[in-house]
Symmetry: C2
Subunit: 361 residues, 2 copies
């Protein structure tokens, strides 16, 4: 009898050892104890881009969208061979033109030969998810950047590493601050994952901190939103908000937004970008005409501001922002990763020229 | 009293007239009465790629995947200013690395100046959906191509047009038949919408009919699957199935697949494509090594077949299939639209060279 019990005991040990070899339980660290990059204001509640209680006059939709973690990433250093994550989002319905990874998930970049290189994605499976992002790595110390969901409010973010390995806060990976105020296209709909939103791609490509103030369909340059934008501490401002307001609103609101920024930032470059030409507008005549009027009014307002002597303002026209094969969107409006690639080919050199001229690069 | 009733009546008429101006009820036509392109066999039940009852030895997962409508599109001609659709899919859980539009939705192309141009997407909202794909068009007659979901079984597809406009079956838009047997990458995970799967892009770019036999993770070259591939009426065969079988299975199964095709198609070119290098395999050493072995074994099997005198077989190596910036996937494995764009830059000229040599182009 004692032999039989011993036999079962040995089997149990063997079984447990096998299990632990296959499934190492991660040791979790709260993201709040690491470095968070991409925040619009340094003091805001964990993953809010703006604490809207401080800006009571903002439209309700803007307040809600500012709870989305678009553009934020966790910077940390670890020698763990596996990197896992736990995170929670809301029950908000997923967007049909986005992957869940982009909408409610994560993606990880690791510094390799001085460049940020994609290493794995965190697939959301429920309101709260736990996922292995990458495994079977060597045990060298690595600089990591874990992007948070583009289109949801995230909470309880924790990074998991192997027991016995180390994790610490990383350095702020990007320098200076360039705020991009804009539409769903800035926020990252329909990038394939969070790190593919165009402000994030610009940051990795330049080393500069392009900060995502994308507001889905609600970047309408209301007075309260303009005052918010102007209150942000930034070295330059990109206004990619022409897709959302009506042509009439563009006429009424552009000057206030630009002047509000100029009043708080006497010499910061302000770069107005025309709306991407909506692909379905080549067939839908009403959509085509609306975008044409939006872009025409944006140009007129820009020229009026120049005539009035506002300095250091710049204009990027929409031509070729999505290339010319009409394949650059997921749904006619929102760039897919090809569309964003083409936007970058136009925006990156144009913006870098301006920043260089101003000694910001 | 009669005046008051008349007043209400007039208001009602005005209200109804306004409503009908805004929301025209579409007149629906069953897709089965129009032209379906992209079918592997002409006789199969509506949107099945293969009727698996005819191939009882196929693995269960392959049978299920062959019910997905990947690669199929409805060809029709209409002068309607609005094009709507109704369609049903299953309750299968959505994929986290795909948009719902790609997974369970539709996208429409319209011929413009001799080229197929994207015109709008059909967003799935439930098991059965009804959506306006494009509206406010001029009333000229247009050739249309409506792609069906990549990763679900679709049924009850109907096309909606304005009352009083016309719709008829379109011509088969593509000529010849090139079968692509392969993995999830062929099936279209993670293209942003159905028409962005790479076989569909190849068809539009060349005018040739690239037929999608993508089988998610189940393109493992089993004997029954090889016999199925060989039984397809095609002018050329592209085998992009190396990502799924183990290195050992590649050694055991490649020759059977190629010889089975050759036995039925004495001179058709057979093009073996190495596996895309999985992006997370640059960090996950096990994944990196597995792909290296898969690709090495694919090359060895190809060379053995050449040595044995099998003619008209071709090999496309994986180098540069996804470019070199590591941004070409959604999740480390599945190309996003940038990744597919880069695959096309390699595959299209390589395949066209071979087809030209064989007089197929």
């Amino acid at each position: 009898m004692s032999v039989r019990i011993a036999g079962i005991f040995v089997l149990q040990i063997v079984f447990m050892a096998k299990l632990s070899a296959q499934v190492k339980t991660p040791v979790y660290t709260k993201a709040s104890s690491l470095t968070i990059t991409g925040k619009i204001f340094p003091h805001t509640t964990e993953f809010n881009r703006v604490d809207s209680a401080e800006y009571p006059a903002l439209p309700r939709s803007v307040k809600r969208l500012l709870t989305h973690s678009a553009g934020m990433a966790i910077s940390f250093v670890t020698n763990s061979s596996t990197i896992s994550a736990k995170w929670c989002v809301t029950d908000a319905a997923p967007y049909t033109n986005m992957t869940s990874i982009a909408n409610k998930g994560l993606d990880l970049y690791i510094k390799n030969d001085g460049k940020w290189q994609f290493a794995g994605a965190g697939r959301p499976e429920a309101r709260c998810s736990e996922a292995v992002i990458v495994k079977n790595m060597d045990s060298s110390e690595k600089e990591c950047l874990l992007y948070l969901p583009l289109y949801d409010k995230v909470s309880d973010v924790e990074i998991g590493i192997d027991d016995g390995s180390t994790i610490k806060a990383g350095a702020e990976p990007f320098r200076k601050r360039i705020l991009i105020y804009g539409s769903s296209i800035v926020q990252g709909s329909s990038a394939s994952r969070p790190g593919m939103a165009y402000p994030a791609r610009l940051s990795r490509a330049t080393g500069l901190n392009f900060i995502n103030m994308g507001l889905s369909g609600s970047a309408k340059m209301e007075k309260a939103a303009a005052d918010l934008v102007a209150s942000v501490d930034a070295d330059a401002f990109v206004l990619d908000c022409i897709p959302n307001p009506s042509p009439e609103e563009i006429k009424q609101r552009t000057a206030y937004l630009v002047n509000a920024i100029r009043a708080k930032h006497p010499s910061a470059p302000i770069i107005l970008v025309q709306s991407v030409i909506r692909e379905h507008g080549y067939f839908d005549q009403k959509v085509g005409e609306r975008v044409r009027q939006q872009n025409e009014n944006a140009r007129k307002e820009f020229e009026l501001l120049q005539q009035k002597g506002v300095k250091n303002i710049y204009f990027i026209p929409a031509d070729q922002l999505l290339g010319d094969d009409h394949e650059g969107t997921t749904d006619g409006t929102h760039p897919n990763d090809i569309g964003f690639d083409r936007m970058l080919q136009v925006l990156k050199p144009a913006i870098l020229d301006i920043l260089t001229k101003h000694g910001i690069l």
